[in-house]
Each structure stands twice: as structure tokens, then as C-alpha cells.
Point group: C2
Chain length 348, copies 2
């Protein structure tokens, strides 16, 4: 069963129902009844399919060597603060046991972390002083080049799905195997947009929310202005997109809604690697935790994503995601709320 067939349980139509019920653009499905309290059920399980890597990163503020990296790593160590995570990825025989223990100590399920003959995926990159763009110095795909996600029944039953940046063909394969996902979110990168734009668009059409960075959105949409690019992606069939603008925050756009969240103002930006996946972890994590998909929940989820991204970039590898706790995360979400929210008064 494809997630498409299950769309009426997803984000887009939930809001349509809310509107039909006359609860207004910000109203949600049972939002008021559940808002402010504990979630009514245990947090929903999340499955992530992506990469686990050993990263060597140099920035003007220091460097890391063969440290834990990869999209599935950042995502898991971010999302696990909110809800249980099952990881589907591949590593080589050389993958340090300590990293496995790190995941396990955070409750991340590794049943889907395949150990294949060969070496683990390695990435080496550096950032200039503006920290805007990573310059890839070396990519060794190693065991990741033959990665083929293997999902068991428990993976397929997960209600929340994050398709991190992998070949869109594989993303579609995973989507096709999911049973009744409540929320499916994809990520991608310019590499796939350049090589398989049609497949990337097909993924966009089939997930509930597609994450892209600003360049990717403009490139895929063929537009030079961000707002038009987001609109165009909806025209091309996406239900909702989140355009990540790095240090400038993120934009959520669906047919019904437009939310903007600025980045959390970090004082000690050290290494931007993994910011997007950490964002996705907080975003999906809070939705899985709250079990909600109304407008209020989406906004709070964006704030949670923003908080997790702000933590990730304060140190190399996912170190800060490991060190942080619920109190610090909640404090950042609260400060973000304080910095952006205002009480609307009559302008004239």
C-alpha cells in the first residue's frame, strides 16, 4: 500500500478537514482538545533510511577526523530525544563498535543497520569562513554504493518515515514497502536533482513533506526566486515542502499554509554538517511524539527542528546532539518562540 492511498491520514488532508469543519487556517484536528497536555498515546515509531558515515571535516574553527556522520546518524540522534527511532542503513566491517553503542545508548534500534563486507562510507569536506557551503574533498562510497534498504515487518509498520538523502529510486522502493505511514518526509540533494530529476519529483509527489535546501528547491523548480520555487514545486505535485535556508531558517509551504521560521541564533557555529538531518529529526520527532498533524503542531515541530539544528552545528559530528537534554531543547524552543512570536495589534 502506498502512502498516497493513505494520504487522508496525512498532513495535507488533515488540514483540509480542519478547514471544512470551520476551525480556520490555524485550527487543527482535535488540536484544541489535545493541545498543551501530554500526548494521548505513546510516541509513534520513526523509521529512517539513509547513510551512516565516517566524516572528516575541517572548518575555520577546527577539524574532525573519521568521526560519526551520515544523514541517518544525525537524524536518529536528533529524533531519539522525541520518539523511538529504527535505523535502516549500511556500514562496513570497520565501523567502530563504540558508535553502535552510542546509538544503542540512545535507544536507536539498529536491527536494520546492515554490516556489509568492505569499508564504511567516508566523506571528507571543508567549509570556508562563511560556513555556507561544504566543499567536498573526497567521497568514498564504499559499502554505501551497493546499499539496498532491507525493511522488516517492524520497519514497514512504523507510522513515521524519513527518507534521508539517498538515490530517489531507493526512496520510492522504501515508500512502496511502507504499510500505513501517517507521515512520510523526504530529503534529497543536488546530485540527484541533476541526475534523476524525474525520480526526485516522483518522490516529492508521493511524500507528505519534501525537505530541500534553497539551491535545490530553485534548481528543481527552475526558478531563481525562492517563493516562486516553492509555489512551483506545489504545482509540480508536491503536497508540502520545507525549504531549508541554513543560517536563515526554513520555510514551510503547502497548498493551504505558509510558515516561516528563522534559524536559532547560535553564538558558536562550529560545523554545519548534519544541520538539515538534525532539523528533520526535531520536526518529525515532535510530530511523532505529539501524534498530531494540525497547524499548531506543524509550527511547533518546525521550532523543534530549528532547535535541534542549532545544537548540531555547535560542535563537530553529532556531539552536541548527544550531550543535550530535554531541558536544553525545550529552552531553545521557548527562546525561539519568544524571539519570533508577537501579539498582533491593530496597525492603524
Amino acid at each position: 500500500m502506498s502512502p498516497r492511498g493513505d494520504r487522508d491520514r496525512g498532513t495535507g488532508d488533515a488540514r483540509k478537514r480542519a478547514r471544512a469543519a470551520g476551525s480556520g487556517a490555524r485550527g487543527g484536528v482535535g488540536g484544541d482538545a489535545r493541545r498543551g497536555g501530554k500526548p494521548s498515546a505513546a510516541p509513534g515509531e520513526i523509521v529512517v533510511v539513509g547513510s551512516v558515515a565516517l566524516d572528516s571535516v575541517r572548518t575555520p574553527f577546527g577539524e574532525s577526523g573519521e568521526a560519526l556522520g551520515g544523514s541517518a546518524s544525525y537524524f536518529s540522534l536528533s529524533a531519539c530525544h522525541f520518539a523511538p527511532v529504527r535505523m535502516v542503513a549500511v556500514v562496513g566491517e570497520d565501523f567502530p563498535l563504540a558508535h553502535r553503542e552510542t546509538f544503542k545508548s540512545r535507544g536507536v534500534d539498529l536491527e536494520g543497520l546492515e554490516a556489509a563486507p568492505g569499508r564504511t562510507f567516508r566523506w571528507r569536506g571543508e567549509y570556508d569562513v562563511e560556513l555556507g557551503h561544504a566543499h567536498t574533498l573526497e567521497t568514498q562510497l564504499n559499502v554505501f554504493s551497493d546499499f539496498h534498504p532491507r525493511l522488516d515487518d517492524r520497519h514497514r509498520a512504523c507510522p513515521f518515515v524519513f527518507l534521508a538523502n539517498i538515490d530517489p529510486e531507493l526512496q520510492l522502493e522504501v515508500l512502496g514497502q511502507m504499510r500505513r505511514p501517517r507521515l512520510t518526509v523526504s530529503d534529497t540533494m543536488n546530485y540527484w536533482i541533476a541526475r534523476k530529476p524525474d525520480r526526485v519529483l516522483e518522490v516529492l509527489r508521493r511524500v507528505d513533506v519534501a525537505l530541500l535546501n534553497e539551491e535545490e528547491a530553485k534548481s528543481l523548480a527552475g526558478e531563481t526566486q525562492l517563493v516562486r520555487a516553492a509555489d512551483r514545486l506545489l504545482d509540480q505535485g508536491a503536497s508540502a515542502v520545507i525549504v531549508k535556508k541554513g543560517e536563515h531558517g526554513a520555510l514551510y509551504r503547502s497548498r493551504e499554509e505558509r510558515f516561516i521560521t528563522p534559524a536559532y541564533p547560535v553564538e558558536t557555529l562550529t560545523d554545519p554538517t548534519g544541520a538539515g538531518d538534525s532539523f528533520a529529526g526535531g520536526f518529525i520527532g515532535w510530530l511523532a511524539r505529539s501524534g498530531r498533524d494540525d497547524g499548531h503542531a506543524l509550527r511547533q515541530a518546525l521550532a523543534c527542528g530549528t532547535a535541534m539544528a542549532s545544537l548540531a552545528i555547535e560542535d563537530f559530528s553529532p556531539q552536541r546532539l548527544l550531550e543535550t537534554d530535554r531541558e536544553e531543547i525545550a529552552r531553545r524552543v521557548g527562546l525561539l518562540h519568544h524571539m519570533v512570536s508577537f501579539e498582533l495589534e491593530p496597525v492603524f
Copy 2:
């Protein structure tokens, strides 16, 4: 009397008093009593000192030839929607009468608009497809090169002051002539930061709020990261800064407060010229209109500035500022509120 001596009526200390009174970081001076209603008095008068120019601009979306431009023009035609504006600037003998009529039709006082022998200041520039930076093709200062602001008693008595981008020596001269300003705001540009950094910093120390764009803030502070740059400017003596990030919004930073506002998502970005001055017009305009300086008012003022900037960039010259009305401005402020504000819920 310098504005410094009057600082206890300004933004910074008002908040300190509010804090001392235990009303919390978001509390304001009498804010709750006055909030939501009509302003208790007539809007305060604003004096702006800056340039009036004839601009020729080319963007990928079209071009303008010798159209009305200049910082004082954009500011006045933005702020006049909120409060009375008195302009202090200079034009040449060739300045079209029609432009004078345009200002007058909007109630902008032109007693301080000097007509000097010679030609009006002219600027010719172009933007690339990203619309991020203006490339100056030609600057003819003409009568503006000998500009010396002449303030009469009515100018000196204005409670709200905008020192648009002019020589910081002149900005200081104007500041020294003001009687009892309630709010003083400055702008600047890289040209002055490179040539007279000490004077620019002196202006920053003496005004209530200093406006800079991102590059200027980093350059003046000697920092590569925006958040640190804003912090450093406070260390250097600024009471509050607003860092304009163009299409990415703006950041307000004082010792007590940090607000962030993203840009309003414009679909038809045509010409970014004047965005910063239009922002300043909405920001100061709403504070002058409401007569308030509490945290709530500052946030709403940032939203008003953002709305005015979004209008200015939708067409060449200040055309959209002339075409818009209170209903459209209020709608944009309301939509911005809707896009950024969220109700904070327990994260865990």
C-alpha cells in the same frame, strides 16, 4: 541637548524600567494598558535626514530611468502611512516638480528640502538575477556632495529621528541639534564604515537603534558570524541594532532583547532598491504612531517595517509605496504574524 541625555525616554531604558517593575522580558511600559487600542495621542512627528535622488536601475525584470529615489524618499513614502514626516534633504534645479507634488500629496513636509544650484544626485545601478547586491554603475553626487542639513525649530522638535545613510559627521551634527528626541535611529553603509569607522561607531553609541545590513554589521564589528557581530556592536557601545538580512529578514538586538523577523515572502520581487529605508519607515512609523516603546511595540514595529520593505521591492522606485493603502499594509502585517507566530506548547 543630546539624545543621550534624554535616553531615559528612549527604548533601552524604558525596557530596563519595565524589568525593574517585574513585568518580565516581554512586558512594556504601560504596554498592557495601552495595547490593542488606539494610540492615546496623535502620532509623533518624524524627521528624516537623507538623500533624494534620481535613480536608473536595471534588474533582470526590467529597468527604470531617472526615477524618484534616495534614502529620504523611500523612507518618507513608507513612514507617511503611519505618521507625519518632515524631510531634510537637497535636490538640484532639475528636480521634477511632479516628485515634489508626489511627496506633498502624501503629506510629507518639504520645508527642509533645499533646492540648490546644480543637478540632483543621480545613481545608476544594476542587479543580477539573484537580486542580492546592487552593482553601482555610476554615482553623480552633484548637489548632494555639498549637502549640509539645515534644521529649523520644527525639525529640531520632532520626537522621532531617522538619520538615513549620509556622512556620519553630518549624522552627529543633526543629533546634536535635536531637542528632546524620543527615538533616534541611524542607517549607514560600507562606504562610511571603510572611511570613517570611528565616526560610524560614535553614531551607533548615540542613537537608540542603529540599522545595518549583514555585511556592514560584520565589517564594523570585525566578526564573520552575524550573531557575534551584533553582540560585538553592543560591546562597542550600541544600545540596540537591527541587522537587515534582505530576503532573509531582520534581527533586533539590544542588551535585554533579541527579536527575529523573517522577510515577507514576496512573489514578484522586482527591484530591491530602497528596501532598507522602507523598512525603517515602517519601523519608526509604527512606533511614532503608537507612541510606545515596549517590547510588544518593537515587535509589531519590526513587522510593519518588514511589510513596507516587501511592498517597496515589488516595483521600481517607490511606486508600490505610493499605490498601497492601510488595508494592504495591515493585511501583510497580519499574514506575517500568521506565518511566524506560534503557540508554545510543552515540548516534552
